[in-house]
């Protein structure tokens, strides 16, 4: 299957630069193919940016990186209309958001106003400046990073805003072996040097279309709905998952099924993706350890529909 070969090649490419993190690589690819946005929450220096860059390089699409700072303005992101003296017209200078993959580093350092500009662009996939609407390219994926342990002078994304991200992952530290390997490899050369694109932007677009056409059985749809419904009724959660969460869960599951080389979604895809797709949207009750634990329990408690028994 062509799709599967391409997907494997991209994953292999990413793993050349990120050692020992296949889950993070897969999650990033799944989000990219499902046309979602990815939030990476982790301490600095674990490879958040490297992951995003590796993905972008592998697909040979345009990458823009925004380092968020408190004085960053919304127009820096969306772009600005500048009066061109020669043409005597206003000319639109596109902002950093005009790329296939946008890496927003330390998004929580920017002011809420600037954050909103990015989030709006993420959702609408278009930017409106001075009354003119500019479509963003396709594919379009924002990979935002956020450091959860450094809070002073930052504006952490509110839960409602986090809902815009399809998935949140944390890289985690590499294992001792992987870290040693990395130290030895990096010493000689920049890992990005040898990184060739394995898929064209057209390939990526057709992959996205293929992922969209993956079959989801009614049983699996029901399963996804049951899980998000359960988050709304759970006594340990103050805020449950939104209908958008259900939608994105199923979309991500389709992409994952495609990456796995299947043309239909399994409940196992849902089970695998729930821990990255749902918890960042939930608000646990006071005294409840974490939304991840609650989600783990809900998944373990929700029956898997067996599907209708076929008459034979």
């Amino acid at each position: 299957m062509e799709f599967e070969t391409a997907a494997r090649a991209i994953l292999a490419n990413i793993e050349k630069v990120i050692d020992g993190k296949p889950e993070a690589a897969e999650a990033a690819l799944v989000v990219f193919l499902a046309e979602g946005h990815l939030l990476i929450e982790d301490v600095p220096g674990v490879g958040k940016t490297v992951l995003a860059k590796a993905l972008a390089r592998s697909v040979s699409c345009s990458v823009r990186r925004i380092q968020f700072t408190p004085d960053l303005l919304p127009s820096d992101i969306t772009g600005v209309s500048v009066y061109n003296q020669a043409d005597r017209e206003f000319e639109f200078k596109p902002g950093a958001v005009f790329a296939n993959i946008v890496i927003g580093d330390e998004i929580n350092r920017a002011s809420p106003k600037t954050q909103s500009a990015l989030l709006e662009a993420m959702e609408e996939r278009q930017v409106t400046v001075d009354g003119t609407t500019y479509e963003l390219g396709s594919p379009f994926t924002v990979v935002a990073t956020q450091n959860p342990y450094e809070m002073e002078g930052t504006y952490a994304l509110p839960e409602a805003q986090r809902d815009r991200f399809m998935a949140r992952i944390s890289m985690g530290y590499p294992s001792a072996e992987a870290e040693l390997e990395m130290v030895q490899g990096r010493d000689i050369s920049n890992p990005f040097d040898g990184l060739e694109a394995v898929a064209s932007i057209e390939d990526a677009q057709s992959m996205i279309a293929a992922a969209r056409s993956i079959f989801v059985s009614p049983a699996v749809e029901q399963y996804a709905v049951n899980i998000t419904q359960a988050t709304r009724a759970d006594s340990e959660l103050r805020l449950g998952a939104s209908p958008r969460a259900t939608l994105q869960l199923v979309r991500a599951a389709k992409a994952r099924a495609a990456v796995q080389g299947r043309d239909f979604v399994l409940p196992d895809d849902i089970d695998t993706l729930v821990p990255v797709v749902l918890p960042h949207r939930l608000i646990p009750m006071r005294g409840v350890a974490s939304a991840e634990d609650v989600m783990q329990r809900i998944v373990a408690e929700t029956p898997v529909p067996a599907g209708a028994v076929q008459p034979s």
């Binding site: 079959f215 709304r232 929700t302």
Partner: protein, 742 residues
């Protein structure tokens, strides 16, 4: 927040309706069970009162639950108590408010009911206190049942409750419980079980298959079990326990005697060797107080004299014998010993000598498995010595001549008539013994029951003297009561008649007593000789008569020292001392019953396996085995081998756990998994290629599963296939979830 899921609301409504249905079914079950008490209580409208109280309690609970009040059980209890007071002791109520005197009245009603239970044989008359007790008990049961139905996973407890109510009247009346009632109640319980364990989400018939199988198995057991267990009491006794009895447990041994004698199987109770030339009677209990309704042991009192050598006239010859007793199948707090016992050695646990009657009672243990040696006295007076003894009834002997008021005239008249020629107490005693033994009386364990005079009250004795049919209880109590009318102190002894010789050890005969040797006899008091046993029951032992040698003691070889049977010159020795109580030999029946029971048990053990096999065949039957069925079968088979099922687990997750087992065929499992996943979750009919059936894969996986299982797992999979239990909707995660409070 979104509105609640309408499906969830629907299922909750259904739960409420189910609970109401359960309540209704349980009410019907109780009504059926109430019918069982028909054998225990005679006459009257006892059931009306009982039903009234039970319905009142049930309605109170229902209304309170509908209204949403929290303290349902306590309020219902109060309502029932007020209703009971209003029915039984209305005078103690102020309007409808109970007063302290109400509680006092309740207390006295319960006391009277308790006495009735202890003293009377079932069926008892439907007197007010008895009806009060029954109505109160059923009212309480209804409240308990209501509380249980409100709890999840209470089906087993409800079953136990129903079983207890079902068995109680049977144990009281000593009858085999009705098979039909059992089937009806078991069926009703299965309906409750079904409604409490079903998966609410699934509506297809396949979800019901496990429950139907369990129901079928239970019904099968119902039909097989009662014939295999002909009599609860017999089975209990065969297991070495005393027959279950609610009436008179441990208080009144005499009441159990008739039941024991009428039983159709006998078990070896004990064996013994003795230095005495003839086997002694072994006494278990001494009954002093005659209430007019029954004989009872006296309460311990300081006035009771310690019997033994005390009071023995110096001219009367006596010597000590030692009897070594080994208890086999007898579980009792009272120890069988020859009378009068002087010393007992070799017992485990704490035992107390009872001053009156020289019997021995356990404090914290029982007789089972005990081996002990008893030193007892053998008294050998001559007939003349006995005639010279004059008994003066003092304060200590007063209870032994006490008679209830309203004695039927026939008892005293017969006693005087029989003893008209006798001048001394001893001769009178012999005359009474002769009248009962050699007269027109016949031994029968069934006639008294058939004619409704079983027991040992005054009425029963009068009836017995008229009909001249009865068993040891009747003979011994009749002689004791008649002796009392003549002023001779008397009491009834309960224990074992002399046993049968079964072999020899160390040059001494080994005697064996079975449960059929249970016996009652009469003891009369002679000042100077002590308590002398008499044997008024025809066909048992031999009558007491001391040697008629004027002035001189009779040599030992003639007066052979048996503490009860002392055959004199006139009496002909009866070699078979144990011929008496049992009417038919029953060893053969017992062994046949045992074989049938064992066969039945084996069949019972195999039923689950057969059911499991039948279900597998049904699922894998030709041409109909869909991959879903194959997967169900795989889950069940793995469950049998100890891999738990989980409704919240994906097929892939289950397969991953299964792969952890040793020896599993991974290729076949993955192939089967693929087939199932495609069937369940892939686009229908899109793949043009014909699907493999997967049956071969399943068989390969099952075979590898069996090969990798331990021997214990394999045995359990045959004897107790866990997959027969209904699939629970509770997932493993829910079970593991700690209870949190919010």
């Amino acid at each position: 927040m979104l509105r609640a899921d309408p499906a969830a609301q629907r299922s909750m409504r259904r739960t409420t309706r189910d609970t109401w249905l359960d309540h209704g079914i349980l009410a019907v079950a109780f009504a059926v069970l109430l019918g069982g008490f028909d054998h225990v209580i005679k006459g009257g409208d006892w059931w009306l009162t009982t039903v009234l109280i039970a319905v009142l309690g049930g309605l109170t609970c229902a209304i309170l639950r509908a209204v949403g009040v929290r303290w349902v059980a306590p309020i219902a209890l109060v309502v029932e108590l007020v209703a009971l007071a209003w029915i039984f002791v209305p005078s103690t109520l102020i309007a409808i408010v109970p007063t302290p005197s109400t509680l006092q009245a309740f207390g006295s009603l319960l006391r009277v009911a308790n006495n009735t239970i202890v003293e009377e044989q079932a069926p008892v008359a439907a007197s007010q206190p008895v009806v009060f007790l029954l109505a109160g008990a059923f009212g309480l049961l209804v409240i308990v049942a209501d509380e249980l139905l409100e709890r999840p996973r209470s089906a087993a407890t409800i079953g136990a409750l129903l079983l207890a109510v079902f068995l109680t009247p049977a144990m009281i009346a000593g009858r085999t419980p009705s098979v039909w009632m059992f089937i009806v109640v078991a069926a009703l319980w299965l309906v409750i079980l079904r409604s409490r364990t079903r998966q609410r989400a699934t509506g297809n018939w396949q979800a019901r298959v496990p429950v139907l199988l369990v129901a079928a198995a239970a019904l099968g057991v119902t039909i097989v079990l009662p014939p295999a267990l002909p009599d609860i009491t017999a089975v209990a006794a065969a297991w070495g326990k005393p027959p279950p009895s609610v009436f008179g447990r441990g208080i009144n041994p005499i009441l159990q005697l008739g039941q024991n004698l009428r039983r159709n199987s006998s078990t070896v109770a004990l064996t013994y060797t003795t230095t005495s030339p003839t086997p002694p009677y072994l006494k278990v209990a001494t009954l002093r107080d005659f209430t007019g309704k029954t004989w009872k042991p006296s309460g311990t009192s300081g006035k009771d004299r310690f019997e033994g050598q005390v009071g023995l006239h110096q001219d009367i010859k006596a010597h000590e014998d030692t009897t070594k007793i080994t208890i086999k199948n007898l579980r009792s707090v009272l120890l069988p010993v020859p009378y009068p016992a002087e010393d007992v050695t070799g017992l485990d646990g704490t035992w107390l000598f009872q001053r009156m009657g020289q019997t021995i009672k356990a404090q914290n243990t029982d007789t089972h498995g005990q081996t002990y040696a008893v030193k007892s006295l053998t008294i050998q007076p001559t007939a003349d010595q006995m005639r010279q003894l004059v008994t003066v009834v003092g304060p200590t002997l007063k209870p032994f001549v006490a008679l209830p008021p309203n004695m039927p005239a026939i008892i005293g008249d017969t006693a005087r008539q029989v003893t008209s020629n006798a001048s001394t107490d001893y001769d009178k005693a012999l005359a009474l013994q002769k009248y009962l033994r050699d007269g027109s009386f016949t031994y029968s364990t069934t006639a008294p029951v058939a004619h409704g005079y079983d027991g040992n009250g005054v009425g029963v004795i009068a009836e017995f003297l008229k009909r001249k049919q009865g068993y040891c209880v009747h003979f011994s109590s009749a002689m004791a009561v008649m002796a009392r009318t003549l002023g001779i102190p008397s009491r009834v002894a309960v224990g074992y008649a002399p046993g049968k010789v079964t072999g020899s050890a160390g040059g001494k005969n080994v005697y064996q007593n079975t449960s059929d040797d249970l016996h009652a006899w009469t003891e009369l008091y002679f000042e100077g000789a002590g308590w002398i046993g008499f044997e008024p029951t025809p066909g048992v032992g031999s009558p007491t008569a001391f040697a008629e040698a004027a002035g001189t003691p009779v040599p030992d070889d003639v007066n052979n020292g048996n503490s009860l049977n002392k055959p004199g010159e006139a009496a002909q020795p009866t070699p078979t001392g144990n011929q008496g109580s049992a009417t038919t030999p029953t060893t053969q029946t017992a062994s046949r019953t045992a074989a049938a029971t064992a066969g039945g048990l084996v069949l019972l053990l195999l039923i689950p396996w057969l059911l499991r096999l039948a279900r597998r065949r049904w699922r894998l039957r030709d041409g109909a085995a869909s991959p879903d069925r194959l997967w169900l079968e795989l889950e069940d088979a793995a469950h049998d081998f100890g891999v738990s099922r989980d409704g919240a687990e994906t097929p892939r997750g289950f397969a991953a756990r299964l792969l952890d087992r040793p020896g599993i065929d991974a290729t076949a499992l993955e192939s089967l998994l693929h087939i199932v996943e495609v069937t369940r979750f892939a686009r229908r009919g899109a793949a043009g290629e014909p699907r493999p059936s997967g049956i071969g894969d399943l068989r390969a996986v099952l075979a590898s599963l069996r090969v990798g299982a331990t021997r214990v797992e394999r045995l359990r999979a045959v004897v107790l296939p866990r997959s027969l239990a209904p699939r629970s909707s509770v997932t493993r995660a829910m079970r593991a979830r700690p209870v949190t409070s919010h």
